[in-house]
């Protein structure tokens, strides 16, 4: 299905947020925001993705 990932169109087979994360960032801790809703870490495995979802995956970077 087609989603918008970090602002860009993206084709994925992931059905849940956790699967998208495993596909994208297997080694890094990331937070997910689906359609402006922060998905709690504990709900990533049960939050289903749908066609056209806007998904942001975020992580920490250096900052002051």
């Amino acid at each position: 299905m087609k989603i918008l990932l970090n602002g860009e169109p993206y084709e994925t087979v992931a059905r849940f947020v956790s699967e998208l994360i495993a596909e994208q960032a297997p080694a890094v801790r990331v937070a997910a925001v689906v359609n402006d809703r922060v998905v709690p870490a504990a709900e990533q495995a049960t939050t289903a993705l749908a066609e056209g979802d806007r998904v942001e995956l975020l992580t920490f970077a250096g900052g002051g």
Partner: protein, 265 residues
Amino acid sequence: MNQEDDALVLGDHAYTSRLLLGTGKFASADVMARAVAASGVQIVTVALRRFDRDRPDDALLTPLLAMEGVTLMPNTSGARNAEEAIQAARIARELCGSRLVKVEIHPNPRHLMPDPIETYEAARVLAADGWLVMPYIPPDPVLAKRLEEVGCASVMPLGAAIGSGQGLASAELLKIIVREACIPVIVDAGLRAPSQAAAALEMGCDAVLVNTAVADAGDPPAMAAAFAQAVAAGRSARRAGLMPVGQEAQASSPLTTFLQGGERV
């Protein structure tokens, strides 16, 4: 004096180090990690960014998480208003579980001055939600008290513009903030030299946060250690009590002769 009974208290946490370190602008994650280790800081700030497939692991978190006794304080930089800052804080919590958040909202990219109105609003909402809010603010004594009233864990007034290295340009205002505040005052931004950090602690600020001054130094780990020493020295000096400034000679007429006569009880 024992450092143990002179902790920096933020909410229900006590820290012995009064230096906070930002993790931006370092040449590499390795240099950053060595600077953190060399300074003995217990709180480091981190920023949020979109995960980048092409740089899947920028190796920032791994060394930080491995370090004993280092707490992450996510900031909300990039947020242009209160709503975005609140969202950033909620995202950050999913990443590190931290209740500490540095609310940082600077809408003007040229000078990066904090927006007091949006900062206040974000701080109010987050503090009510149970966060230990650490707002980055202009050195405004009234704003500092208003933020204290809404339950912030500290205030972080700027010493000078971010990255400017101008030191404690706001010293006189900082003194008023320190005098009035019931929560820790942490000077954030503007410092260049460890002597400025020492001066901030001597004037009664509770801690300082530095980033560029360390990241841009010739030897960042060594500079981080120097800042740690300066902060400790400044704090010790504050507690020891500075000598008085020389008093000018008084040449006016005496004011207490009326008290020389018989004592009236």
